[in-house]
């Protein structure tokens, strides 16, 4: 059976921990791998450098992307993913603390598939990850692309 993998790019260690916790309890049968920067997310997708081992770093079915990250922001990362031949159809859902209308607008303009605001309690976060998992990893279909 194909592995159901979420790639999370978030510079906040706390948030990575909490999302990991919420995924563990909310998303049965799903895995989550986490990187700290947008650049690392791109490297991961490309299987470059430390991410060459696809057994340890399997191809994800969803990218959860924080917006405010140092060096390469979520928006820049999103743009590059959409430009890449291999990953242009990868579902990318923004997961951020910002509920600013202009951020939401920009995310959709750059072809994000969804926009989620980090909830303030662990319980809500767990619910959210369950929904994300059920929809994006289990129900959603995307076009096959030659790797």
């Amino acid at each position: 059976m194909k592995r159901r993998v979420i790639l999370l790019a978030d510079d906040s260690e706390d948030d990575r921990f909490l999302v990991g916790e919420a995924t563990a309890s909310g998303c049965s049968g799903g895995e989550i791998v986490m990187v700290e920067t947008g650049q690392k997310a791109l490297d991961y997708l490309a299987g470059a450098g430390e991410f060459a081992d696809r057994k340890r770093f399997p191809e994800p079915g969803l990218l959860l992307l924080d917006l405010k990250m140092p060096v390469k922001s979520g928006f820049e990362t999103l743009e590059e993913v959409r430009r890449s031949q291999r990953w242009r159809y990868l579902p990318v859902v923004v997961l951020t603390a910002s509920s600013q209308p202009r951020d939401i607008e920009k995310a959709y303009r750059l072809l994000a598939n969804g926009y989620l605001v980090k909830p303030s309690t662990l319980a809500e976060l767990t619910d959210m990850m369950r929904t994300v998992c059920d929809f994006w990893l289990k129900l959603n279909r995307i076009p096959e692309v030659e790797s």
Partner: protein, 614 residues
């Protein structure tokens, strides 16, 4: 008004009425033919008589002279028809009394010639007398007409001058104008009517010379009256048979009006520029001189485009011509920024009011020019200050958003970690320790809500809103679905009246009022809430009534302020922001809020919102 027209070089004034007609009559007065014809007529009569007598036989002389005299007299008195009649009578008389009866040798050739001769000469006399008769009558009538006419126009002084410039005729108008009676002035040089300085300048002689050379000349200037006054007068001099005819009019009244017009323009607070049909400047005031930096004499006669920046001159010419085709009093260049140019080449923004009018001289446009540099500057200052303010508000908004956002991130961690800790320490920690962890998590939840509410309050204050018709029934249902209040009974007394508002703000109002209504109820009581509306005078009052703890009178105003909470027996999770948000939202929608209450029994919160138009 007096206008100096470009190119003509001579002063022209609104010409006194009827003057052209007067000039025509004054030339007829000097018609040269009459005297000659009269002379010819008077000489012709006796000459013909003598000629006739010369050809007649001596014994007939007396009777022929008699008949001829009759023809002359008849012609002189009655004109050609009378002369011819007298001739016919004469012929009859001669034939009857002096020639032998027919058949007795009457057919003598000489007798026939005699009769023929008389008939021819009689006809000639009659013709000449008739001409004379007509001329004299015409002359008399013309004189009568002119006399009546010149008397009727007493506002004009009319006089005749002989070739040397001495007064030879003087009408009543002249008498009224100058104060001189005809007897005092006749045969006097007309220079007497000019002030000394004009005389020194040789104006009178120049007038006569120009009248001779050009056919007529007009001039405006001061004239000297008998009493020494020197009013401003218009003078027309035209040459005539016997010298000159001079018409004079006192222009004091016109001059006063002109002066008033000039003063009104001069004292106007804006720059005034009067432009003629050709676009030439004919009058400017002091303000205009100051505004544009030109002296008056530099502007008069120049095209008005001189006052515009070079690049705009051509298009202005087009605009001006279009305007003159359909002139109306209005602001120039509405919606456009108008620029003017000073003499030194600098440009400045102006506002220009246009006023077209028509005078005898033609059509003019009076332009009132206001320098709006200062106003533009203060507008600009205001705009910049406004922009700076808006920027600061935006910065503040950004700042408060960032603060609250950055505050919430650690809160999320604290909450999340304490919850994880709670889960993982199950069975390892005592109940008391676990209760402490739970309190940490709940305190964090409270703080998070507070931040959320402060943000909502800020949004209710500033966010631009769009007003639409709002269906309260739908919104209440929506809110109830989002905040399920399990134990409470919420009754909607519907249908609720539609209001004019903003869905987002009305939702905030409803959500806060409903959550308050179920929250502040003593624990032993089951919350019962009623939602209803009442229409009155274009307003809809939305009412939410509960069976809660009620609000003491002292707090009924304060509870709508931010962070206000009522100290009481029930420890609530409220942030103190809910009702402040309700009031702010209602005010943004143009409405009001209020509360009625029976402490310990019920509270009724109401919001007045504009009724939705049908």
């Amino acid at each position: 008004m007096k206008l100096r027209l470009r190119g003509s070089g001579r002063p022209v004034t609104a010409r006194p009425l009827g003057l052209r007609r007067l000039r025509r009559y004054s030339s007829r007065l000097a018609a040269p033919t009459t005297g000659r014809i009269a002379l010819a007529g008077y000489l012709a009569g006796p000459a013909v008589l003598l000629a006739h007598a010369f050809w007649s036989r001596p014994f007939e002389l007396g009777s022929v002279m008699l008949y001829t005299a009759a023809v002359v007299v008849a012609g002189r008195l009655g004109g050609l028809p009378c002369g011819l009649f007298a001739t016919a009578v004469g012929l009859g008389g001669m034939a009857w009394f002096e020639l032998p009866p027919p058949g007795l040798g009457v057919e003598a050739l000489e007798d026939k010639l005699r009769l023929l001769r008389f008939a021819g000469l009689g006809g000639l006399i009659s013709y000449l007398s008739g001409r004379l008769h007509l001329e004299l009558r015409g002359e008399r009538e013309g004189e009568d007409y002119l006399r009546h006419f010149t008397q009727a126009v007493r506002d004009y002084g009319i006089m005749s001058l002989d070739p040397e410039g001495r007064v030879s005729a003087w009408n009543e108008g002249q008498e009224r104008l100058t104060g001189y009676a005809a007897a005092e002035i006749l045969d006097q040089p007309f220079e007497r009517l000019f002030p000394p300085e004009e005389r020194d300048r040789g104006t009178p002689q120049r007038l006569l010379r120009e009248a001779r050379e050009k056919g007529s000349v007009e001039l405006e200037g001061r004239r000297l009256l008998k009493d020494g006054r020197q009013p401003w007068c218009y003078t027309l001099v035209s040459p005539s048979e016997s010298g000159y005819t001079v018409v004079t009019q006192d222009m004091t009244r016109q001059r006063r009006q002109e002066e008033r017009f000039r003063l009104a323009i001069e004292s106007a607070p804006s720059g005034m520029v009067l432009v003629d049909e050709q676009g030439a400047i004919v009058l400017v005031n002091k303000q205009a001189e100051l505004l544009f930096g030109y002296g008056r004499e530099e502007l008069l006669g120049r095209r008005v485009e001189l006052l515009l920046p070079e690049r705009l001159r051509l298009s202005h010419t087009v605009y001006r011509e279009r305007y003159q085709a359909q002139p109306s009093a209005r602001q120039m260049g509405q919606g456009r920024e108008l620029l003017a140019r000073r003499k030194d080449g600098t440009e400045f923004p102006v506002e220009i009011g246009l006023n077209p009018f028509r005078s005898e001289e033609g059509r003019f446009v009076l332009a009132a020019v206001v320098d709006v540099t200062e106003r533009k500057k203060s507008e600009e200052r205001l705009r910049k200050a406004n922009e700076a303010l808006e920027r600061r508000v935006a910065d503040l908004e950004e700042f408060s958003y960032t603060i609250s956002h950055d505050l919430r991130a650690p809160l999320r961690s604290i909450e999340g970690f304490s919850r994880i800790l709670l889960k993982r320490t199950e069975g390892k920690l005592g109940a008391e320790e676990r209760a402490l962890l739970d309190r940490i998590a709940r305190a964090v939840n409270g703080m998070d809500r507070l931040i959320e509410d402060v943000l909502a309050f800020g949004r209710a204050t500033r966010k631009p809103i769009e007003m639409t018709n709002v269906d309260l029934n739908f919104l209440v249902e929506d809110v109830l679905a989002r905040y399920p209040a399990s134990a409470a009974s919420i009754r909607v007394i519907g249908p609720l009246a539609p209001v004019r508002g903003n869905e987002g703000l009305v939702t905030q109002i409803l959500a806060n009022l409903l959550s308050n209504a179920v929250k502040f109820v003593p624990p032993e009581r089951r919350p019962e809430v009623e939602v209803s509306t009442r229409k009155r005078d274009g307003w809809v009052r939305l009412m939410v009534k509960d069976n809660g703890i009620g609000i003491p009178a002292a707090f009924r105003e304060r509870i709508f302020r931010p962070f206000e909470r009522i100290p009481g027996p029930i420890a609530h999770e409220g942030t103190g922001m809910g009702l402040a948000i309700v009031r702010k939202a209602a005010e943004r929608l143009g409405g009001r809020v209020g509360v009625e209450s029976e402490p310990g029994a019920w509270s009724l919160f109401w919001v007045d919102l504009p009724e939705a138009p049908p």
